[in-house]
């Protein structure tokens, strides 16, 4: 599902409420008929969230960042797998330099490596295409398709039109209201 709307319409706020970071003023967020506020850790198991702030530490290297994220979310992965994934995302030779020396697009790619390394059903992505080049966007959409095919769902905001045609695409348009 894609969420559209002008700046300030509340796209990010909506995503943060659905992810459980912010509390809604009214109502509840239900996942599989379960209120997420009641058993958040259980909901978190099926959630992958990548926000504006991507969670990439600039002092650590790309590899260390991925490694840390895996550890925090309880996934295990071999060094070779991480290296080959980083290579696939165009970060060859940049795996072991501090992330602050990378460009904005490269830092975004380090964050997006997670999309290849998780078993979450629900992906919530806030502007995932920011700073990515065309090839990056295409690769990301390819990954979206794989995820949808395997039965997952994606909730994202973007200002770009999706170039791939996703058969199950739904669009929610938020309007700015005073």
């Amino acid at each position: 599902m894609q969420i559209e709307g002008p700046n300030g319409a509340g796209k990010t706020s909506l995503l943060r409420i659905i992810s459980g970071f912010a509390r809604p003023d009214e109502g509840n967020v239900l996942f599989n008929n379960q209120n997420i506020a009641e058993d958040y850790d259980n909901f978190a198991q099926s959630l992958l969230f990548i926000g504006h702030r991507t969670g990439v530490n600039l002092q650590l290297t790309a590899y260390e960042n991925v490694q840390h994220w895996l550890g925090v979310h309880g996934y295990g992965c071999t060094e070779d797998e991480i290296y080959s994934l980083l290579g696939k995302l165009g970060l060859v030779g940049l795996e072991d330099v501090p992330a602050r020396t990378l460009s904005a697009g490269q830092q975004r790619r380090v964050a997006l490596v997670r999309l290849w390394l998780n078993q979450a059903k629900l992906w919530i992505l806030d502007e995932p295409f920011t700073a990515l080049d065309k090839r990056g966007v295409a690769m990301l959409q390819g990954r979206f398709q794989e995820h949808l095919d395997s039965g997952g769902s994606i909730l994202l905001t973007t200002h770009q039109d999706l170039t791939n045609s996703f058969s199950s695409l739904q669009t929610l348009v938020l309007e700015y209201r005073h």
Partner: protein
């Protein structure tokens, strides 16, 4: 030679602990700093080498991409 025997030399007329503490810590600090400095130099050289091989790998990856 001021001392009759080796054990006299170590005892330093009863001040052995203080004298050897001074000389020991002096030696430790100097050798420590020297070791750190030399190690830093070695690490720097390795870093430059790694950077060179990294650039080599990036070049190769680009070439492979261009061919594909």
């Amino acid at each position: 030679m001021q001392f009759e025997s080796f054990s006299d030399f170590i005892a330093m007329g009863g001040y052995g602990f203080y004298v050897w503490l001074s000389f020991g810590s002096c030696l430790a600090i100097i050798l420590g700093l020297l070791f750190v400095s030399l190690y830093e130099g070695k690490r720097l050289k390795e870093e430059v080498k790694m950077q060179m091989s990294r650039e080599e790998r990036i070049k190769k990856a680009k070439e492979a991409e261009a061919q594909a």
